[in-house]
């Protein structure tokens, strides 16, 4: 069995009395696409915030490439090769699309105090950034101000930035939401390609069809707890999952 790339051990996050994430365990293996599923408020985004260092866990440990990362500030975790997107998009509004990617590309200059004073994009860096923009289909909008883009394009921009930072792991938080039908298909293909390039992806997704089709394995959260983990087809038949998520949805559809 291969070593897990990322392992989450007994991680909890309490906000006052609310157990947003409650003793969650799972491992992620290299080149896997892992889905995180769960109803609204299940603690999925909080879990991402714990992994990427925005929040510190109340209890538990997170290991990345064999090293403990919980407690590290987010920028140090990013520098180790973890990239992420935000469910509520966070573009750098005053920068162009290209600059948004270049600033993320700077993660590689970082720590070299002399390099940060260099011009913001060398030819090679701009080429690299344009390649990433091409991957997500934003080439034409490279010079556009990020604050002027519609949501669908902002979601792609988030992925472009995460791609350049996350040379090992990408965390995608509901990247499909708000996309048109054809855009969903494109994004699915993109995610597969990224994985085939050798990266590992963890994604939070509400769209059942997408999650089932794309993920190798799925972890299901409900009220902060992990209630199931397994291959998509097993998850679909899991009692607890049907109860917590599919079932509730089924009932609301029926009514």
């Amino acid at each position: 069995m291969t070593q897990p790339l990322l392992s989450v051990n007994g991680v909890s996050k309490y906000f006052g009395g609310l157990k947003a994430v409650d003793e969650v365990d799972f491992d992620v293996f290299p080149r896997e696409i892992l889905g995180i599923l769960g109803p609204n408020g299940a603690g999925k985004t909080v879990l991402f915030n714990l992994i990427s260092g925005i929040y510190q866990p109340t209890a538990g440990e997170v290991h990345f490439c064999g090293q403990r990362i919980d407690g590290l500030p987010p920028h140090l975790i990013a520098q180790r090769g973890m990239g992420r997107t935000f469910q509520i998009v966070k573009p750098f509004g005053s920068l162009t699309v290209l600059q948004n990617v270049l600033v993320a590309r700077g993660v590689m200059r970082y720590g070299h105090l002399t390099k940060i004073w260099g011009p913001w994009g060398s030819k090679a860096e701009i080429r690299e950034a344009m390649e990433v923009l091409d991957k997500v289909g934003l080439t034409e909008l490279a010079q556009r101000k990020a604050s002027l883009l519609p949501l669908g394009n902002l979601r792609r921009l988030e992925i472009a930035r995460a791609l350049i930072v996350g040379h090992t792991v990408l965390l995608l938080d509901e990247s499909f939401s708000g996309l048109r039908h054809d855009e969903i298909g494109q994004l699915e293909r993109l995610i597969r390609r990224i994985r085939d390039d050798g990266r590992t992806i963890i994604l939070i997704e509400h769209n059942m069809r997408v999650t089932m089709g794309l993920c190798d394995r799925i972890v299901v959260l409900d009220h902060g707890r992990k209630i199931a983990e397994g291959a998509p087809k097993d998850i679909q038949q899991d009692e607890a999952v049907i109860e917590a998520y599919l079932g509730r949805k089924g009932i609301s559809h029926a009514s």
Binding site: P73, P74, A78, F92, G93, L95, Q99, A104, W117
Partner: protein, 294 residues
Amino acid sequence: MSSYTITIGTIIVIQAIAVCGLNVIVGYAGQISLGHAAFFGIGAYTAAMLSTKAGLSFWTALPLVIAIGGFIGFLLGLPSIRVREDFLAITTIGINFIVEAVFRYVPFFGGALGIGGIPRIVFFGERLKGMTFLLLCLVFLFLVLLVCWWLTRCWASLACYAVRDEESAASTMGISHVRFKLLAFVIGTSMAALAGSLYAHYMQFINAGDFSFPVSVGFLSMLVLGGMGTIWGPVIGTLILGVLPEIFRPLVDYRILFYTLLLLLMIRFQPGGLLGEESAMRRVLAPILRRGKA
């Protein structure tokens, strides 16, 4: 040029240098500072002490003044930038009052009397005053503008903008918000210290009151009027607010009221300042500039 015009001009140029520094902190890095006069004062007092007590010339003292200004900026900035944005305004006001009080009440800094007898700047055997001093200040302003221009071209500025726009997203892109806010703070306060040094050697006599809180409000008004984050905004803003009270004398007495009103009006109607991207002035100027190019 009359000596009166030269005096006004010199003060405006010195203030413009300080406001450029404020622009790096507020405009580029998005951190509100209402205590910039403190750092202007720290530069002035350091220059005054080094020349009157240690007998250093302006030129030998200058690197020290800038370094000390930046270092104190670093020390005071470290705790300040960790607080939430709205607290930062209050913290910087606090810094301004404390620094002013230290100058006023600590006998080492001349106490209430301030420091006098600050020598003129000597350049190749020539003691600079009047026009030559103004020229020297203009050279420094030019150098500061050059640094500011480069700051908009280098990667560090992208990082500062990113932190300003979306701090948490920047951090997950590997950018430490503490480091870049601090960097902007240190650069901005060193520029203020440079301006302070010029001020001390120009006035030859300084007093704690020259660096009080209303001066900080003035600096911020100049910046907001001209356009935060633009390169020429600080110069335009300082020029207008420096010349206006000379034309309308009564304004002098109501300076603070005027500054505050102006700040509020600008933020309400033209938050980008006169030279801001979406400003009315840009819209008027744009076709003219385009025609000029064609």
